[in-house]
C-alpha cells in the first residue's frame, strides 16, 4: 500500500526533475554565448563586477565588460551605436543619453522581450521596480517626449539609479552646534559657518568644474528652489528668479567650499569630503559606500545622511544609469537575459549587498541590507521626493547642458552676474530649441 502510494509520487518527482532539466533552464539555448557589456566606471557597476561571476555560473552565459569613465562611455556609445554592427550587446547609459539614443532609433524596444514567453521570467515582478526610476530612465515617448505618459514605452531598465542626499559630518556639526539643514537657508548658513569655526575645513564640497559638472551642480539646486529650464511650451525660464537663486546658492556653496572647489568634478568633491577637508557633501547616493570604507575614507563612521534640503519644494535629482540593448547588438536575447537577471529581486539585492544602488522597493526594505548599510532607510525615503523633471532629457540637451556649464563656471570664477549669465543661456537655448524644431507648432 505504501509502495503503491509512493510510486506515483516518486514518478511525479522524477518527472519534475526530468522536465526541470529540459524546461526549467531557459538559459540553455544561450549557454556558451558571450554578452559584451559597456558599463560606466562607477561604484554601482564595480559592485556588479563582483556579482557577474555568479550569473555566468548559473546560466553558462559569459560576460565581458568594458568599463569606462561615464562621460567617455557616452562619447564612445554615440559613435558605437551608429555602426551597422556594434561592439556591445548591453549598455549602461547615462540618463540624459536616453533621448539621444531613442530619438535616433538606436535602442531595442523592450516590449518584445517581455512578451516572449521563452525569455521573460514570470516571477520578475516589475511592479516592485521603483516607479520614478523606471519612468525617468527607462520610459521614453510620453509627456514632453521624455517624461512618463500614455504614449510612452520602455527602452531600458533602471540600474545604478541615484538620487541626491546630504552627507554631513556628525562630529563637526555636534562640536559647533550646527543643526542638520532642512531647508536651503539653513544649508547655506551651515556651509558658510563651517570654514569660520573649523580651521582649514570647507563647508560643502560640490561639483563645479566647467562644463557638465557645473551644470549638474546648478540644476541640483534649481529644482528644489522652484525653477525649471523650460516651461511647458519649451520657453526657457532658466533666467527667472528661481534660476538666479539657484546660481547664487551654488556660488555661495563654492565660495565657502574647500580650496580649489571651482575645478571639482564629483571625484574631487568626494575625495575632499573623504579626506575630512569639507563638512558636507550633497550629491548622488552612489558615493556613500566609499565614504564608509575605512580603507579609502578618513571619515568612515562619522557621516550622517539627511534628505536633500527643501527649497520652495522638495526635489532631489534623479540620475544615474539604466541598461538597454542596442539595436546593432549581436546577442540581443542573451543580453536581455543578463539584464533581467541583474534587475531581478535576487540580482538587485546581490548588487546592493556589494555596495550598489537598489532599483527595487523590496531591496530597500530588505533587513540584511539595512543592517549592512544603515543609511539605506534614508535613501529609500529620499526616493519619494526624487524629481524626474529636474532636467529636460531632450536630444539637444547636450549642447544646452554644456552652455549652462561653461556659463555657470564663469559665474563661479569670473564674477559674471548670475542674471546676466542666465539671460545669455536662455537666449542661446531658445535659438538651439528653435533650430531643433521645438517651436514648429506655435
Amino acid at each position: 500500500m505504501m509502495m503503491n502510494l509512493m510510486k506515483p509520487a516518486a514518478l511525479a518527482l522524477a518527472g519534475i526533475a526530468f522536465s526541470g532539466a529540459a524546461l526549467a533552464d531557459p538559459y540553455d539555448a544561450y549557454r556558451g554565448q558571450t554578452v559584451v557589456a559597456n558599463f560606466p566606471a562607477h561604484p554601482h557597476y564595480d559592485a556588479v563586477m563582483k556579482v557577474l561571476p555568479q550569473f555566468t555560473e548559473e546560466t553558462g552565459i559569459k560576460v565581458e565588460v568594458d568599463q569606462l569613465q561615464y562621460l567617455k562611455m557616452r562619447e564612445k556609445q554615440t559613435l558605437e551605436l551608429t555602426k551597422r554592427r556594434g561592439e556591445y550587446d548591453l549598455i549602461g547609459y547615462v540618463v540624459f543619453s536616453k533621448a539621444d539614443y531613442v530619438f535616433a532609433d538606436q535602442l531595442e524596444n523592450l516590449a518584445k522581450y517581455f512578451m516572449n514567453p521563452k525569455l521573460a521570467d514570470p516571477t520578475y515582478d516589475a511592479d516592485d521596480l521603483i516607479d520614478g526610476y523606471v519612468q525617468n530612465i527607462g520610459v521614453a515617448g510620453g509627456t514632453k517626449g521624455y517624461l512618463p505618459g500614455k504614449t510612452g514605452s520602455l527602452f531600458g531598465l533602471p540600474f545604478g539609479s541615484e538620487t541626491s542626499v546630504l552627507a554631513y559630518r556628525k562630529d563637526i556639526f555636534e562640536k559647533h552646534g550646527i543643526d542638520v539643514p532642512e531647508n536651503y537657508d539653513q544649508l547655506l548658513d551651515a556651509a558658510c559657518k563651517v570654514p569660520e569655526v573649523e580651521d582649514g575645513m570647507g563647508g560643502m564640497a560640490s561639483r563645479a568644474a566647467s562644463g557638465h559638472q557645473a551644470s549638474h551642480a546648478f540644476l541640483l539646486h534649481l529644482a528644489p528652489l522652484g525653477g525649471r529650464v523650460f516651461d511647458d511650451q519649451w520657453n526657457p525660464i532658466i533666467n527667472n528668479e528661481a534660476g538666479v537663486a539657484a546660481a547664487n546658492a551654488l556660488k555661495t556653496i563654492v565660495d565657502c567650499g574647500p580650496e580649489g572647489s571651482q575645478t571639482f568634478g564629483p571625484s574631487e568633491a568626494a575625495a575632499s569630503f573623504m579626506q575630512g577637508d569639507s563638512a558636507m557633501f550633497m550629491d548622488s547616493i552612489a558615493f556613500a559606500a566609499n565614504f564608509e570604507n575605512p580603507e579609502k575614507s578618513k571619515v568612515a563612521g562619522k557621516v550622517g545622511y539627511a534628505l536633500h534640503p527643501e527649497g520652495v519644494r522638495r526635489g532631489s535629482q534623479t540620475g544615474g544609469f539604466g541598461i538597454a540593448i542596442p539595436k546593432n547588438a549581436e546577442n540581443k536575447e542573451a543580453a536581455f537575459l543578463l539584464m533581467q537577471w541583474l534587475t531581478s529581486k535576487k540580482g538587485d539585492l546581490a548588487v546592493a549587498m556589494q555596495g550598489g544602488n537598489p532599483s527595487r522597493f523590496s531591496t530597500y526594505e530588505n533587513a540584511d541590507l539595512n543592517e549592512k548599510y544603515p543609511y539605506s532607510a534614508t535613501f529609500g525615503e529620499a526616493l519619494k521626493y526624487a524629481d524626474p523633471d529636474w532636467r529636460p532629457i531632450i536630444p539637444v540637451w547636450g549642447k544646452i547642458n554644456a552652455d549652462i556649464g561653461t556659463t555657470m563656471s564663469k559665474v563661479l570664477t569670473e564674477d559674471l552676474d548670475p542674471q546676466e549669465a542666465l539671460d545669455g543661456v536662455a537666449e542661446r537655448a531658445e535659438a538651439i530649441m528653435d533650430d531643433a524644431g521645438y517651436y514648429t507648432w506655435r
Binding site: E75, T78, G211, E259, T263, G398, A402, T406, E414
Partner: protein, 303 residues
Amino acid sequence: MGTANRLTPWLFLAPAVVVLGIALLYPIGYMIYASFLSWSPSERIGDAEWIGWRNYTNLWTDEAFRESFLVTLKFAAAVVTIEMVLGVGLALLLDRKLRGMTVLRTIFILPMMIAPIVVGLMWRYMYHPTVGVFNRTLKSLGFDGAPWLSDGTWAFWSVVIADVWQWTPFIFILALAAMQSLPRSALEAAEIDGATEWQKIWYIKIPLMMPVLIVTLLLRLIDAFKVLEVILVLTNGGPGLSTEIVALRIFRTAQEFQELGEAAAMSNVLLLMLMALTILMVGYNWLQERRAMRLRVVAETGK
C-alpha cells in the same frame, strides 16, 4: 630616356602617394564637404541635410567659438614668445665648451618625448589644490594656496607653463645648434675689434641666426595651434572657456555635442590658418635660399 626611366621616380613615390591620398587628402576633401552639412553621427553622411554656408555663418555668430579662437591666438602668442625668449636666452648662456653637455642636452629633451596625455596628468597632479606640490610648498611656507586651475586667468597661465616646460627645450636645442654652426671667423674678428659679449650677441650671433630662428618660431607656432591633449587632461577647457582652444572645441563639438558638420567647419577654419602659417614658412625659406644662392653667385663671379 625610356619609359622605364620616367616611371622610376613614380615607383618610388607610389606607396607614399597612395597612403597620403587615401588617409590625408581624401579625408580633408570629405571634411570640406561635411562642413556644408547638418550631420550628426546617428545618420549616414548621405542622409545629412545640405545647409550651405550655415555652419560657417553660425561660427561667425557663435560667441563660444569666437572666444575659443581668441584663446587659441592668446595661447599660441604667449607660449611662442616665452619659449623663444627662454630657449634662445639659455642657448646663449650655455654656448660654451662644457663637460657633460651631451648629458645635459639629453636631460633637456626628455620632457618633449613624453606623451602629452601624461604631461597633462603630471601637471594636473602638481596643480592639485590640496595634494599638489605647489600648494603644499606654499602652505608649508605659510602662504595661501594659489587657484592654479580654478581661476580663469590662473588656469590659462598654468596651461602655458606646462607647455613651456615641455617645449622650451625644442627651441633651446635648435638655437644652440644654429649658434655652434656660426662662422667662427666673424666672432673672432669681433673679438679682435674688442667687442663686448653683449655686442657680439646683438650684432653678430642673433642676426646670423635669424633665418633658423624664424623657421623655428614658425614651426613652434604651427605646433602651438595643434595642442590639445595637455589641455584636455588639465582643464578640459575650463574654467568657463578660459582655456578652450579651437582644437579642443572641435573635439567637443564632434564628440560631446555631436555636431559633425559644425566641427568640420571649425576644422576648416583651423586648417586655413595653419595653411597660411606654413606657406609663410615655406615662402620665407625659399627667399632665404634664393638670397644665399645669389650671394654665392656673387662671391664666385667676384673671384
